[in-house]
């Protein structure tokens, strides 16, 4: 039994300060976003800003509670907590409430909780517990299967509840696994697949293949610096396409040019692949293989999407990528969001002076599009500050995770950092037109008790773990 030291002496105040600053800035911006002449007081409990203050109070209570909890509790009860939240998730279809088309909420008295939000913490605990166990070996089939199980049970359940946005957050755990030894190739291919998928869905396959072709030539040039061979490759590709297109044009075949691009990519890849094998140019062969795989993937994604999937499944994907959620035609929401942020200029329009914000041009502005308010009213200065705060928090979390000797704490810390990072990247990326419109909140900023509490819980379990980094966490 070790001597009990006061836990408050060891908590990381930098993290806590950033956390408090973020909640405060978020609250101010929620006030600006939903500001209502009739309810001027920021403490008005009938308005979102009043309520958010209440959620913040509760969040701080949760944080204090977590810090006062024995850190061994989280290690010991990692799996039970995970299972309990999965159980809650499974209950949702029976006792859940539907909000915005997603039946993913459970009502506790006057509060609405979203178990999928808490699932992130549960899964993080379970991952940390499993990876830190002695018999864990990253590339053993048994371990990989177990990891897959830990990840896919919650993802599947959340996906079934129509909350696709929350489901894909779990993909970011790949980064954690990579840190803990997963082969980098997995990370690379996961990224490539996701990229090709999104490009295919958003841009259609034809431009996607062209982008991939261009990228392949560029990479080949960067690696091998052989301009002449690159030009030969390009000429081959172009001439195959040109001949096919010309034949079609003259014969008035009316065939979609996609087929010619695909054929050009396929034939020239095969030719150069064989050539690379014969001359033992390994890196070229790999590159061509990856390229051809991506092209095939893009085409088959398109084929599956249009010919095999049912309409409701297509709707789900379109909604996920923000392709069809648009009421006023292509890109209205993102466009209004960009106008809001872009019109902020360097210093911003000032507190409560944002016209895009005040007059409701941006939808969901207190929740998913809260960053618009920051951009419009506080300008480049304010938005850079917010990004800076996130970067500071993420870097601090990685630093904290790395300084823990306990593997459990480290893995959990990485989980927290990557989850926050994913939310940050997708949410802000969406408001500035760099990411598809996936409705996930900006941590500590967006309005809503459930998400604030779950992020607080997620973060402060780690703050507590980190506070006891000098103790031996045994189990």
């Amino acid at each position: 039994m070790q001597k009990k030291t006061n836990v408050w002496n060891n908590v990381d105040w930098i993290t806590i300060s950033i956390y408090l600053a973020m909640m405060f800035i978020g609250w101010i911006n929620i006030y600006a976003a939903v500001y209502n002449e009739e309810h001027k007081s920021i403490f008005d409990m009938t308005q979102q800003y009043g309520k958010q203050l209440m959620w913040i109070g509760a969040a701080i209570f949760i944080a204090v509670l977590m810090i006062n909890t024995d850190s061994k509790f989280f290690v010991t009860f990692a799996f039970p907590i995970y299972i309990a939240i999965i159980f809650l998730l499974m209950l949702v279809p029976f006792i859940g409430t539907t909000i915005n088309g997603a039946k993913s909420w459970i009502q506790f008295g006057g509060f609405l909780l979203q178990p999928s939000e808490f699932m992130k913490m549960g899964t993080s605990l379970a991952l940390a517990r499993y990876i830190s166990s002695y018999n864990f070996k990253m590339h053993s089939w048994k371990s990989l299967l177990a990891l897959a199980g830990i990840l896919f049970v919650p993802v599947g359940l959340i996906f079934l509840q129509n909350d696709t946005g929350s489901a894909i957050v779990f993909g970011v755990f790949l980064l954690v696994l990579y840190r803990e030894g997963l082969n980098g190739i997995v990370l690379f291919f996961s990224f490539l697949i996701a990229l090709v998928f999104v490009l295919t869905m958003v841009l259609e396959p034809l431009p996607t293949i062209l982008i991939l072709t261009f990228a392949a030539f560029l990479i080949n040039y960067l690696i091998r610096k052989k301009t002449k061979r690159n030009l030969i490759g390009m000429a081959t590709f172009t001439s195959i396409f040109g001949i096919l297109w010309l034949i079609n044009y003259l014969a008035e075949g009316g065939v979609d040019p996609l087929y010619f691009v695909f054929a050009a990519a396929f034939i020239s890849s095969l030719v150069f692949f064989l050539w690379a094998i014969m001359l033992h140019k390994r890196s070229l062969a790999i590159l061509i293989g990856i390229y051809l795989g991506s092209v095939l993937f893009s085409v088959s994604v398109d084929y599956v999407f249009h010919n095999i999937m049912e309409q409701h499944q297509r709707d789900r994907i379109n909604e996920l990528l923000g392709i069809q959620s648009d009421l006023h035609g292509a890109g209205y929401h993102v466009n209004q969001s960009k106008i809001a942020i872009g019109s902020g200029g360097f210093f911003g329009k000032g507190f409560l002076q944002g016209t895009q914000t005040k007059f409701d041009f941006v939808p969901e502005q207190s929740t998913d599009f809260i960053f618009c308010t920051v951009g419009e009213e506080w300008g480049f200065l304010g938005s850079t500050l917010v990004i800076g705060l996130f970067m500071a928090l993420l870097m601090r979390l990685i630093f904290l995770a790395e300084r823990n000797r306990s593997k459990f704490s480290r893995v959990y810390g990485y989980c927290v950092a990557t989850i926050l990072f994913f939310h940050f990247a997708v949410n802000i990326g969406m408001t500035i037109g760099l990411a598809p419109v996936i409705g996930i909140p900006l941590p500590f900023f967006s309005y809503g008790g459930s998400s604030l509490w779950s992020f607080t819980l997620l973060l402060f379990v780690f703050v507590r773990l980190d506070a006891s980094r000098f103790e031996q966490l045994s189990y």
């Binding site: 019109s343 938005s383 800076g388």
Partner: protein, 611 residues
């Protein structure tokens, strides 16, 4: 052992990379790219134009000729409409259910949030009951605007009308926006800038649903509308209406000028129309009816665009030129053999030979042939003689726009020597060849306005002030600013005018005109004209001024296809002079008045043609 510890750098690098990417993106969005600011402003800015009331038009006695009346547009915001009783609304605004449905469909197509006009220019009679019931029709509201009103229903062509501005004007003049009104003709067009005032603008901010949320930039960019300026004209509205009454069922023009000032007292073009027809909901229907009337052309202002031969009224000018050039004296006598005269025969018989006073009184064609020949032959060559003569005629304001504010004014015509050179060959023409000019026929065309101006020159004994309709402009504070007009002196000595005026007095007092034109209290001087017309019956022309020594009014009356000048044009002028100077018609002349009003020269012509 932690063999993968270095991977923390890659994970942190990915995160930092995204952060840096975002900052760069924000830099381009917020600092490099300025268009987003404009988009944001365009999103919220709504400009509401405040239309100032158009200026009024007064006559010389401060009587209103044109003012504004309130009218109302029934507007609709489709988004706010709920189910309502269409039959009742249609009954109130007197609109077909079909038309209403079409208007609503059109409004919906235009915008669901922005207001559209459902029924334009509703009169106050309809507005009153509509306003009471308006609460039953959410989404509908009424927007007020002003329309022109013409209390005396007269002077339609001179006052002109307003209409919606056309696309070409919108493109060339930044002041106008689609749907604005602009003066299209007459004074409304000539004084558009003064009458329209200056539009104001209220900039408001609207939310995403187009609901007004407050002033833009604290109202600093708002401007108030400035009322239009009033025009004070030289019109005598009562006399104008009386002239139009006398010209009922006749085709022609009447112009009267105050000689001392150049103010136009009346300007009639008959047939006319009620200017109120071109206002309100029936405007476009009435407009096309008026424009398509190719027989009477009621929108034509014949007083300024009608180009006629002056006929015998022009003999006055020939007499004055001859006196000034000393080619004849007042006492030179020329013989007349009546119908047997050559080269121009006289139209009626009178004592012979005649000097100037009798020549004018009898409108003797042979006398004036001699007068004209004397002018042309006074110079060494016919060409030089013609030039001298022509310069004098041009001096009288002929063959040029005399310079009223009305842009449609025509110049008339007077041949140059080159015309005759071309027509007859150089030096192959002389006084004989162009003798028609001696009696105001031939290669000369004048407008009734120019004829009235000629009368004013004679009344003034040798000068005129540029004829004009508007004498002063009154600003919104009702302070009047008198306008100044050029005085033009004729190079003919005043005593020559007195000689001619004597003849003009004799025309009124010593011919049969003494029964129709001569007044008891005032000496009237005048000259008739019966203008040969290749297209039909002769035109009847008459110029006059009165009183002889202190002229108050100079007038020209021109009636198409009415026969002798003495029959219609002269008595109408006489009645107008009497009315203007005495304010009433002497009882003994009431019969004449009645007869002239009832004279229908339009339909007589029709009947003749049919027979």
């Amino acid at each position: 052992m932690d063999t993968f510890s270095k991977r923390k750098v890659i994970v942190a690098g990915i995160m930092l990379g995204v952060g840096i990417l975002f900052v760069l993106r924000l830099f381009t969005l917020q600092i490099t790219n300025k268009t987003y600011k404009q988009f944001a402003t365009r999103n919220v800015l709504r400009e509401i134009t405040i239309y100032p009331a158009r200026g009024y038009i007064y006559d010389r006695n401060n009587e209103l000729m044109v003012y504004n009346k309130a009218a109302y547009d029934l507007m609709l915001i489709p988004r706010e409409v709920k189910a309502f009783d269409t039959t009742e609304l249609c009954n109130i605004i007197q609109l077909d259910r079909k038309d209403l449905r079409e208007a609503i469909a059109k409004a919906k197509q235009y915008s669901r949030y922005k207001p559209s006009i459902v029924a334009g220019q509703i009169s106050s009679d309809i507005y009153a009951p509509l306003q009471e019931k308006l609460y039953k029709y959410p989404g509908f509201f009424v927007q007020s605007r002003t329309l022109r009103e013409y209390p005396s229903k007269s002077a339609a062509q001179a006052l002109g009308f307003v209409g919606e501005v056309n696309q070409r004007t919108i493109e060339t003049d930044k002041y106008y926006k689609s749907g604005d009104y602009i003066g299209v003709s007459g004074l409304e067009k000539a004084y558009e800038k003064e009458l329209r005032g200056i539009k104001g603008v209220q900039k408001s901010m609207v939310d995403v649903h187009n609901r007004i949320k407050g002033k833009y930039n604290d109202g600093l960019e708002d401007t108030t509308a400035i009322l239009g300026q009033n025009l004070i004209t030289g019109f005598d509205a009562k006399l104008q209406a009386y002239a139009e009454l006398l010209m009922t069922n006749k085709k022609g023009a009447v112009v009267a000028i105050e000689p001392a000032t150049g103010e136009i007292i009346l300007m009639v073009s008959a047939p006319s129309y009620d200017p109120n027809l071109l206002v309100g909901r029936q405007r476009s229907k009435n407009y096309s009816i008026l424009m398509q009337d190719s027989v009477y052309k009621p929108t034509w202002n014949r007083a300024i665009i009608g180009e006629y031969s002056p006929g015998s009224t022009f003999k006055l000018v020939n007499a004055l030129i001859a006196l000034q050039e000393h080619s004849v004296t007042p006492y030179d006598r020329f013989s007349c053999s009546g119908q047997g005269s050559t080269p121009i025969r006289c139209t009626h018989s009178h004592a012979s030979p005649v000097a100037m006073r009798e020549g004018i009184r009898e409108s003797c064609n042979p006398y004036f042939w001699n007068v004209f020949r004397s002018i042309i032959n006074h110079s060494p060559t016919a060409e030089e003689g013609y030039r001298v003569w022509r310069d004098h005629v041009v001096n009288f304001g002929f063959a040029q726009r005399v310079g009223t504010e009305l842009s449609s004014e025509r110049k008339g015509n007077l041949a140059e020597t080159s015309y005759y050179d071309k027509y007859f060959g150089q030096k192959r023409w002389n006084a004989m060849t162009i003798r028609s000019l001696s009696i105001g026929q031939g290669e000369i065309l004048v407008t009734p306005l120019q004829m009235a101006n000629m009368a004013a020159i004679i009344a003034n004994r040798g000068y005129y002030i540029t004829p004009h309709l508007v004498r002063a402009i009154q600003d919104p504070n009702r302070v009047s600013h008198e306008l100044e007009f050029e005085k033009k002196v004729i190079d003919i000595r005043p005593e020559h005018f007195n000689t001619v005026i004597e003849g003009m007095q004799a025309v009124i007092e010593d011919t049969k005109l003494q029964h129709t034109v001569k007044l008891d209290s005032v000496i009237v001087c005048g000259k008739t004209g019966t203008v040969q017309n290749p297209h039909g019956a002769d035109h009847s022309a008459f110029v006059a001024f009165a009183p002889r020594d202190t002229p108050k009014i100079a007038i020209a009356v021109y009636i198409e296809n009415a026969g002798f000048g003495a029959t219609y044009a002269a008595p109408i002028a006489g009645l107008l002079i009497e009315k203007y100077l005495n304010d009433s018609i002497a009882p003994r002349r009431k019969d004449l008045e009645q007869r002239l009003i009832e004279t229908d020269l339009l339909n007589v012509v029709e009947v003749k043609r049919k027979l």
